[in-house]
């Protein structure tokens, strides 16, 4: 079981939502924001608090792409692969990032939990294609060289 500090935080979130089952998604969104993923123990605790089954909460958590049951990196890089970005060569950008960070389509978080790389279907910024976001900061009209430099800058900053 998780520690008292975590329990207190989770309790606060759940109570703020009136222990209401209908608020489940909002609750786990807050949890995800807090921990960057959904720890199993926390989900079970929320299920208990909201009086729903573990299987149900697991179903919701796995239904939405945005929820993650695996710990995510500190920087989440989203590469837009919508139609406009795709024709503007988003895949070479994705490949360049994966190569730089030693990731692949199965493994999308670095071992040091600094980066997570994901693709998204459309960021709604097609005029700026190809687009990536890093923790909600938008980078328009990127190139493979640019993203590699960007990643290296972040790495340096992190050290």
């Amino acid at each position: 079981m998780f520690n008292a500090e975590v329990k207190e935080k989770v309790d606060e979130i759940v109570i703020r939502h009136n222990c209401n089952k209908k608020e489940l998604i909002n609750i786990i969104q807050e949890i995800q924001k807090l921990y960057r993923y959904l720890p199993e123990d926390v989900l079970k605790y929320i299920a208990f608090k909201l009086d729903i089954s573990d299987a149900k909460i697991y179903g919701v958590a796995t239904f939405y792409e945005n929820f993650s049951l695996e710990p995510k990196g500190k920087y989440i890089i989203k590469i837009c692969d919508g139609t406009a970005c795709h024709v503007r060569k988003s895949i070479p950008i994705l490949n360049a990032i994966r190569k730089e960070l030693h990731l692949n389509d199965k493994k999308n978080t670095t071992d040091d939990f600094l980066f997570t790389v994901e693709t998204v279907s459309c960021l709604g910024a097609c005029g700026l294609a190809p687009v990536i976001t890093i923790n909600d900061q938008v980078y328009p009209k990127v190139t493979p060289q640019f993203v590699v430099e960007l990643i290296n800058d972040i790495k340096k900053e992190a050290i």
Partner: protein, 564 residues
């Protein structure tokens, strides 16, 4: 709401049908479904019940209410194509190793594929192989055979209030699995097996122990002593074309003897012991006003449910072992002596309508010095497989009577197999010589039947005793909440996990659709046996009296679980 619908050009009046599907079925057309069970909420996953309206829309009839003047066609060219396509897609995703499937011949997918004459699947077989979950002693889950109809999820959540299974992931990745992809044995599954009753395919099956039984029979150093639960005798016949509720105990005994079982006894003797022990325990608690309400402990799925969800109630659950374990205890005690003399090993074979009994027998408290009280649990379904394998003509076999001494039971012990039975048996003992026959009948009738919660109040020595009878764990859950909130207050609560009680247990034969009717007929079967019994009350069973003078003399604590 009433009116007339036009189904395939025929006018069909409707009154209170809950959906168009029921109306079509009532009108004599067996519309196919995978995901529809009248007792579960409507999910509309399989789309097999779709029909075409006169406007050219395709609608799923399970999810639509009948409308006056609406015209539908159940078998148009489009609909036929549509249904065949669904079947083809399901089959492309399905492990089609039908010959080696436990469910073969009774699989709804197989039946419908055959009914629609599917001989070729146009789509590539998907070869993703998922691990088979055989971690549970009761249930085996093979998700390669799952068609994602969701029936198991619904029954577990809505009827049992357990929620061990759920849908996970999305779109084509959807899978039915326990939370966090755990094994069933690591979840809050209570082993009731109701998921297996509603599963249309071989995705959920009983953990089959027939091989263990055969091996024990072949081993000449072993003495096989069988006990048969009351509910088995009113359902086994369904596997051989008989009606639910037809009593086949004589045939079962004959068959077991033919298979090579040495002694065949009745679990109802265990039930008689339970009645006596539980009544005494109840009176003691009433006198001391301690740990009330008393919950019954006969149903292992209920006990597991309480342990998982309401550990604080454990002191309120009867310390009595279940009839299966009580009888196992007595048999092992008596035959233990014989074993020492003739060097054989006695195997307690328990034939049960229940999958949770398979888990119960493995509990550590039922094993003493390496000897288990019950060695093998075989379900009604398993027994039917053995009979079929042997090729015995079940309907023609000459009936035999149960072996003595433990073939002699009271009517009270027999009705244990249906909801309200345990309570009635206890009441018969409590009210004996206190109420007239007619008054008793009225009280007994209030605990019979299939209502979710049945209540009775009985005046016993000037104190009003409040009784509740629930079946279906969701109902038990509701009643516990009401007690906790102070809304309700009882002294004795009987809980059976399965709706209808053991007669509708997870190990019973699966009718095409399990309905209220099936349960009523099976229960009637038990009450019909009770009617023919001259001994109605457990304590009047002289075999039980003899036990109390013999092995149980000053030793009845062996019939209880000592938690502390």
């Amino acid at each position: 709401m009433s009116g007339i619908m036009i189904i395939d050009g025929k006018k069909v009046p409707f009154t209170n049908q809950k959906n168009i599907l029921s109306l079509i079925r009532d009108s004599g057309i067996d519309l196919p479904t995978f995901c529809y069970h009248s007792e579960l909420s409507i999910y509309g996953a399989c789309r097999m019940c779709s029909v075409e309206t006169s406007k050219g829309d395709i609608i799923a009839t399970c999810a639509e209410k009948p409308k006056d003047g609406m015209e539908i066609f159940t078998n148009t060219e489009r609909i036929r194509k549509y249904r065949k396509m669904i079947l083809e897609l399901l089959l492309a995703n399905h492990d089609r190793d039908c010959t080696a499937c436990e469910r073969t011949g009774k699989c709804q997918l197989q039946t419908l594929a055959n009914r629609y004459g599917l001989r070729k699947i146009r789509f590539n077989q998907i070869n993703e192989v998922n691990d088979i979950d055989d971690s549970s002693p009761s249930i085996i889950r093979n998700s390669n055979k799952c068609i994602k109809c969701g029936d198991c999820v619904m029954v577990c959540e809505e009827i049992q209030g357990v929620g061990a299974l759920g849908f996970a992931h999305r779109g084509t990745d959807v899978k039915i699995m326990p939370a966090f992809n755990k094994k069933l044995s690591e979840t809050n599954c209570v082993n009731c097996g109701q998921c297996r009753i509603v599963c249309p395919t071989g995705a959920i099956t009983i953990n089959n122990t027939t091989d263990k039984v055969w091996n024990a029979i072949y081993d000449k150093s072993k003495r096989i002593v069988a006990q048969i639960a009351p509910a088995v005798r009113v359902a086994l016949g369904e596997e051989f074309g008989l009606k639910p509720g037809d009593v086949t105990i004589g045939k079962i005994v004959a068959v077991l003897k033919r298979l090579g079982v040495d002694e065949v006894y009745d679990t109802a003797v265990g039930a008689d012991l339970t009645v006596i022990e539980e009544t005494n325990e109840f009176l003691e608690r009433i006198n001391q006003n301690k740990n009330l309400p008393l919950f019954t402990s006969c149903c292992p799925a209920w006990v597991k449910f309480a342990e998982n969800k309401y550990p604080e109630l454990m002191d309120n659950i009867s310390t009595c072992k279940s009839p299966q374990q009580m009888f196992g205890t007595v048999v092992k005690k008596i035959y233990g002596e014989l074993d020492k003399k003739d060097g054989k090993e006695t195997i307690m074979l328990s034939i049960m309508p229940c999958t949770a009994k398979k888990a119960e027998m493995n509990r550590p408290e039922f094993e003493h010095d390496g000897i288990k009280e019950v060695d093998i649990v075989l379900t009604t379904q398993g027994l039917s497989m053995m009979i079929k394998e042997m090729g015995i003509d079940f309907n023609d076999i000459e009936e035999e009577s149960l072996d003595m001494p433990f073939g002699m039971t009271s009517g009270a012990g027999i009705i244990f197999g249906t909801t309200g039975g345990v309570t009635e048996a206890v009441l018969r003992r409590l009210l004996k010589n206190k109420f007239g026959k007619d008054d008793c009948e009225i009280i007994f009738n209030s605990v019979r039947g299939l209502e979710n919660v049945k209540e009775a109040t009985v005046n016993y020595d000037g104190r009003d005793i409040k009784i509740a009878v629930v079946h279906g764990l969701k109902n038990a859950d509701d009643i516990i909440r009401q007690i906790k909130s102070g809304e309700k207050n009882y002294d004795l609560i009987e809980v059976m996990a399965c709706r209808g009680g053991c007669i509708a247990g997870g190990g019973q034969p699966v009718p095409k659709v399990i309905t209220r009717e099936t349960r009523i007929m099976r229960a009637k079967g038990l009450y019909s046996i009770d009617k023919t019994r001259q001994i109605k009350n457990s304590e009047d069973n002289h075999i039980v009296q003899k036990l109390y003078e013999g092995v149980l003399k000053d030793n009845n604590q062996i019939l209880h679980i000592h938690k502390h």
